[in-house]
């Protein structure tokens, strides 16, 4: 145990050594090897194939958020390392960042101009020292160029996640 602790101290001592005296790190990454690109699966799941084609055999399935290392891209397919083998994934389902969360985006973006105007009015009514609201501030502007109410109704018609799961699992007929 003492040896392990002593070894740890010896190994980490370099971090406190003056920078000018610090040697090159041992076991450097060979500079002649290409740097891998990192991709993250964005789709719910994707089949990794042995070639850049839908007719190539399937090696396995990668799920959303899975990190894949790649060295090259060919004709809309990205060559990746998958389970110690070379595999191919359609570039269309990959991005170079982990999947972004959905909730934060939706919350920030669902306020219509009408709601914005209402919020402004409530701020005005909450500060009586500013005096009465001007006539042009007395009601939210009627946005005659957009049908926000109809859009909200159309959005509400959308299927629930459970309905979507059932639809995707149902055999096509």
């Amino acid at each position: 145990m003492k040896s392990v602790i002593a070894g740890f101290i010896l190994a980490t001592a370099g971090a406190f050594w003056p920078a000018g005296l610090r040697a090159e790190p041992i076991l450097p990454w060979p500079t002649n090897l290409p740097t891998p690109s990192v991709y993250y699966v964005q789709s719910l799941k994707v089949q990794v194939r042995s070639g850049p084609s839908f007719s190539a055999p399937v090696l396995g399935t990668a799920g959303r958020g899975e990190r894949l290392f790649s060295f090259s891209e060919t004709g809309g397919w990205v060559k990746v390392w998958y389970k110690w083998r070379e595999g191919y994934v359609p570039a269309i389902v990959l991005a170079m960042h982990p999947p972004f969360p959905k909730a934060g985006v939706a919350k920030a973006a669902t306020e219509s101009p009408r709601q914005l105007a209402r919020r402004r009015l409530s701020a005005v009514s909450a500060t009586p020292e500013r005096g009465p609201a001007r006539p042009d501030q007395s009601r939210p502007p009627a946005d005659e160029k957009a049908a926000y109410a109809a859009l909200e109704r159309a959005e509400a018609l959308g299927a629930t996640p459970e309905e979507l799961a059932r639809f995707m699992a149902a055999p096509a007929r």
Partner: protein, 281 residues
């Protein structure tokens, strides 16, 4: 000796993953730093998309068939599960117009007219058309075209700085971009390269979702044979059908999809479009 071996082991643990991971970590750090900024961009994109979608709804009117609207939403969202933008809540909206037209507004809004739907024959055709629009959304084609025309976010930000950052000033800037978006969608269309990319993506997305990837091609070819097809906004704003069919055929051949039997569901499509079949029919 043991001390030295332990020191070497610790050093190798520190050193070994570091060099290959170094560019990865720096890339990761860059992305993490940019995440908040990216999400703010996405919020602006969704805000613009909502505005454009609401304007299109005012122009065409919403279709009063909830079951059909829900069916279109299900097909579209099953395709969206294979898209590269899981952060977007995708909405597929049915418009009440006999004219065959489809639109992709930024931020996850895809709109399709009743006329377009009624001119289709199976679910694979619908999936192909929606996948084409989905590609415009995920690749931010409309935003890129607005930037190219000079209505970039930088310019909008500059405008906001001049006007102040009141909700009204933001609304004016957003309305300006929405009006230009509508002009592109209804009159001038997106660049040819964007349309070619969307057609190739439609093939991939359809295949990934399990649909026959030639659905879009079949629909385009059949529509091009119609006498009144030229009057449609779809034809005014898109490259010639012959070119598009060529791109689709190339994508099918290049991705090993020729001769593969994939789904083109007919039953649930007809049920959704025409209502459930009555006994004896």
């Amino acid at each position: 000796m043991t001390v030295l071996l332990c020191a070497l082991a610790f050093l190798s643990l520190r050193a070994w993953p570091a060099p290959p991971g170094a560019p990865i970590r720096s890339q990761h750090e860059r992305l993490s730093a940019g995440t908040e900024e990216s999400l703010a961009d996405v919020s602006e994109e969704v805000r613009l998309g909502r505005d454009v979608a609401a304007r299109l709804l005012l122009r065409f009117g919403p279709c009063g068939r909830p079951a059909l609207a829900r069916y279109v939403d299900l097909v579209g969202r099953s395709l969206a599960e294979n898209s590269s933008r899981p952060e977007l809540s995708m909405h597929f909206v049915l418009l009440d117009s006999e004219e065959a037209a489809t639109f992709a507004a930024p931020g996850g809004y895809v709109l399709i007219t009743r006329g377009a739907l009624e001119s289709m024959r199976d679910e694979a055709e619908l999936a192909g058309v929606l996948a084409h629009e989905l590609s415009h959304v995920t690749r931010r084609h409309l935003g890129a075209e607005l930037d190219r025309r000079g209505n970039s976010m930088e310019r909008v930000s500059g405008l906001l700085r001049l006007l102040g950052t009141s909700p009204d000033a933001k609304h004016v800037a957003l309305a300006d971009r929405a009006e230009q978006s509508l002009d592109i969608l209804l009159k001038s269309g997106l660049p040819r390269e964007a349309e070619a990319q969307a057609d190739r993506d439609a093939v991939m997305l359809s295949a990934l979702t399990g649909y026959d990837p030639s659905g879009l091609q079949r629909w385009l070819e059949r529509r091009s044979g119609l006498k009144d097809a030229k009057a449609s906004a779809l034809d005014r704003t898109h490259p010639p059908v012959r070119d598009r069919v060529g791109w689709i055929k190339d994508a099918i051949a290049q991705n090993g999809l020729e001769g593969r039997r994939l789904a083109a569901p007919l039953g649930r499509f007809w049920e959704a479009v025409n209502g459930p079949a009555r006994p004896g029919e």
